[in-house]
């Protein structure tokens, strides 16, 4: 494990956090990906890559990784992750989760139920809306469908969906809006209604939203993805205009990477997000949670 946390932030405990801080946890799990493993090494790879881009102007603490390889099953990992996220939010800090496969995002989103209703911006080559039938388990292809079923989740915006799929995934949920990766001659952008309003936003970034030429280290790459500049610009825009209740970056797989291109891209987009987010903290949701 690296000595310093993400962006050189100190390793710390929950009690180190004060309102407005960023609280980082890693979830080194690839339980949710049946096809390829390796995202378990994602959190450490992102931390390593972030070492060259220290953020001294943003307050954050890295609380380390959730225990995954101690015999726990997936529901236990979800519970452990959720508990950490709840406690970070309870301090008035913003939880930032390093995955792990994308199934992990459910743990973070479901744990923020006390924040009230919030919307989700989901940067991803896929909509992650495969059928899910209400089981305790879900995988990374079903995760957004399960998240959509949570009562405190409002609208969903998927950005970067593209490629060959089994069916039209953009029509899977009434509250789901999809921005495709690109149309000829036009870079995608965040729809203007998503840049207005008081409702908080959770931002989830599946690194496969980027083009495989930029981020090859991921399990399900799809050609024709976003450039890093385009992704960073969209994340910056959202973070400046909407209140970010939590964020994650998922699906970085160092075993498939080339010269750490993917983990570096992940660190870069996270640095954009935490620098650009509105300069107010979350209200401490419930002191008893801390």
């Amino acid at each position: 494990m690296t000595d310093h946390g993400l962006f050189g932030w100190p390793r710390g405990e929950i009690t180190s956090l004060v309102p407005g801080d960023v609280g980082v946890i890693g979830v080194p799990s690839d339980f949710g990906n049946a096809y390829v493993s390796g995202t378990r090494a994602g959190p450490e790879a992102i931390r390593r890559s972030s070492a060259s881009m220290p953020l001294q102007d943003v307050a954050g603490h890295d609380l380390g990784d959730v225990d995954v390889f101690d015999g726990a099953d997936w529901p236990e990992i979800v519970e452990r992750t959720g508990e950490r996220v709840r406690r970070i939010a309870g301090q008035g800090a913003m939880p930032l989760v390093l995955g792990g496969d994308h199934a992990v995002s459910y743990a973070a989103v479901s744990a923020l139920d006390r924040v009230g209703t919030f919307d989700i911006v989901w940067f991803d080559a896929h909509t992650d809306f495969c059928p899910w039938h209400g089981a305790d388990w879900h995988n990374h292809k079903q995760v957004l469908r399960r998240i959509a079923s949570l009562p405190h989740v409002g609208r969903l915006l998927v950005v970067g969906h593209r490629g060959i799929t089994y069916f039209d995934e953009s029509l899977q949920w009434p509250a789901l809006e999809v921005v495709r990766s690109a149309s000829p001659g036009h870079a995608p952008s965040i729809p203007s209604p998503w840049l207005e309003g008081e409702r908080p936003i959770y931002v989830s970034i599946d690194i496969d939203v980027l083009d495989p030429c930029i981020a090859p280290g991921t399990g399900h790459p799809v050609p024709g993805g976003l450039s890093l500049d385009t992704l960073c610009n969209m994340v910056r825009t959202v973070a400046r205009r909407r209140h970010i209740v939590g964020a994650d970056v998922m699906e970085v797989n160092p075993l498939l990477d080339h010269e750490a291109m993917t983990s570096r891209a992940a660190a870069e987009v996270l640095s954009v997000l935490v620098r650009a987010r509105l300069p107010h903290s979350l209200p401490a949701t419930d002191g008893a949670l801390a």
Binding site: R162, T165, R180, A182, P216, P223, G224, E259
Partner: protein, 398 residues
């Protein structure tokens, strides 16, 4: 097709093929396998017992206790002889040449295609050959590695009608290949050390068999030279243009090269009687020669004059027949040096759709896929997306 010389007569002795083995045996049935051509049969245990009596040369009459050709046991023996499990004594010491290997998994998990005329609309054939270019080392593993990657986007059939479900192109927001059936015939056998002519003759024979009822052939390489058998097959049916997307530098000398390589492929293709024009589509930064309808070999740059590809067509003709080739090695990838001229996915995607609108795509090859490159997952999915785009352009052009 694998042959057998066991011309069946009830009184002529036959012997078990030395290439037969038993894979599974229980009280009621046996699964027998013929390693010379991959035939696998499940037969009743009683028939298996009869079969074993041919361990030494024996006549079917003697084994079956009758010479009546209509007797069930005699009919079964005739079928086993026809499939090669029984052979004329002394004839099977050298196995008949095997033409294809069964892959462990099939492209998009489509059905396996036996070595006979395919009833599917599209049939895949792997060409694990990379001796045609020094720089293509590793591409022999392209067919099997692409099949493995293709399991992320499976071929599906409607559970009630059996109609192929096809896919959905999220970029164009339209269905792709709905109702179009696929099959995978496996890989051409390559005996390492043999001349390309031997392996490619095998491919030609297999392709001719597979496409006899009209299936569109798709060759999966291998290096770029592996496109030759499928081009040769396609031109047998009439005038043909060849459009290949790559970055191979072809000069005048290569057009007359004595050996079939990636570089000399245009010359070999143009020497075929019905190939009228060969177009190399190269990356933007490489100089094209411009569109000249009087030239049989043309090189165009994808972002410059590729848009004018349709000008190469004779406007008096209906959509001309064309073979389309895609060299995946020429697509941009994570490990590329910035100075390397490369195609972008978006450019090639658009180009394939444009070709489908202007031409009638009758055959396709995909080559240059090397699973040893860094970021193979992205390369493979790029290749598979472009393959499905090309097939969609062939079967449902819009």
């Amino acid at each position: 097709m694998v042959g057998t010389d066991a011309s069946f007569s009830p009184d002529d002795p036959l012997v078990l093929s030395p290439w037969m083995s038993v894979e599974q045996l229980d009280d009621s049935a046996a699964t027998i396998f013929l390693s010379s051509d991959g035939t696998r049969l499940r037969i009743p245990r009683s028939l298996h017992r009869l079969l074993l009596r041919f361990a030494t040369a024996t006549s079917p009459h003697e084994v079956c206790g009758t010479s009546d050709p209509a007797a069930p046991a005699m009919r079964a023996m005739a079928q086993l002889a026809a499939k090669g499990f029984l052979a004329t004594p002394g004839s099977a010491a050298v196995p008949p040449e095997r033409l294809v290997w069964d892959p462990p998994v099939r492209m998009f998990d489509a059905p396996a295609q036996k070595l006979r005329a395919a009833q599917a609309d599209i049939v895949f054939l792997g060409m694990p050959w990379d001796f045609g270019s020094y720089t293509a080392a590793g591409a022999r593993r392209g067919p099997s590695a692409l099949r493995e990657a293709s399991l992320q986007i499976l071929y599906g059939l409607d559970r009630l009608t059996g109609r192929p479900l096809g896919w959905f192109d999220a970029d164009r927001r339209c269905p792709v290949l709905t109702g179009v059936s696929l099959a995978d015939a496996g890989d051409i056998v390559v005996n390492h050390g043999e001349r390309h002519a031997a392996a490619f003759a095998r491919a030609s024979e297999v392709l001719a068999t597979l496409t006899r009822d009209g299936a569109l052939p798709v060759s999966i390489g291998g290096d770029a030279s592996t496109a030759f058998p499928v081009i040769e097959l396609a031109q047998r049916a009439g005038p043909l243009d060849v459009i290949r997307i790559g970055r191979t530098l072809c000069d005048a000398n290569a057009l007359d090269a004595p050996r079939l390589t990636a570089e000399s492929l245009p010359g070999y293709a143009l020497s075929l009687p019905n190939v009228e024009r060969y177009v190399d589509v190269v990356p933007t930064v490489m100089q094209g020669d411009g569109v000249d309808r009087s030239q049989r070999y043309v090189r165009v740059a994808v972002d410059g004059d590729a848009a004018a590809l349709s000008a190469l067509r004779d406007p008096s003709q209906e959509r001309k027949r064309v073979h389309v080739g895609i060299d995946i090695d020429s697509l941009a990838k994570a490990s590329d040096s910035p100075s390397l001229p490369s195609h972008t996915y978006a450019e090639v995607h658009e180009l394939l759709l444009a070709i489908g609108r202007s031409y009638r795509i009758v055959s396709v090859d995909l080559c240059g896929a090397d699973p040893g490159v860094a970021g193979w997952g992205g390369v493979a999915m790029t290749a598979l997306h472009l393959l499905l785009t090309a097939l969609g352009a062939a079967k449902d052009p819009v």
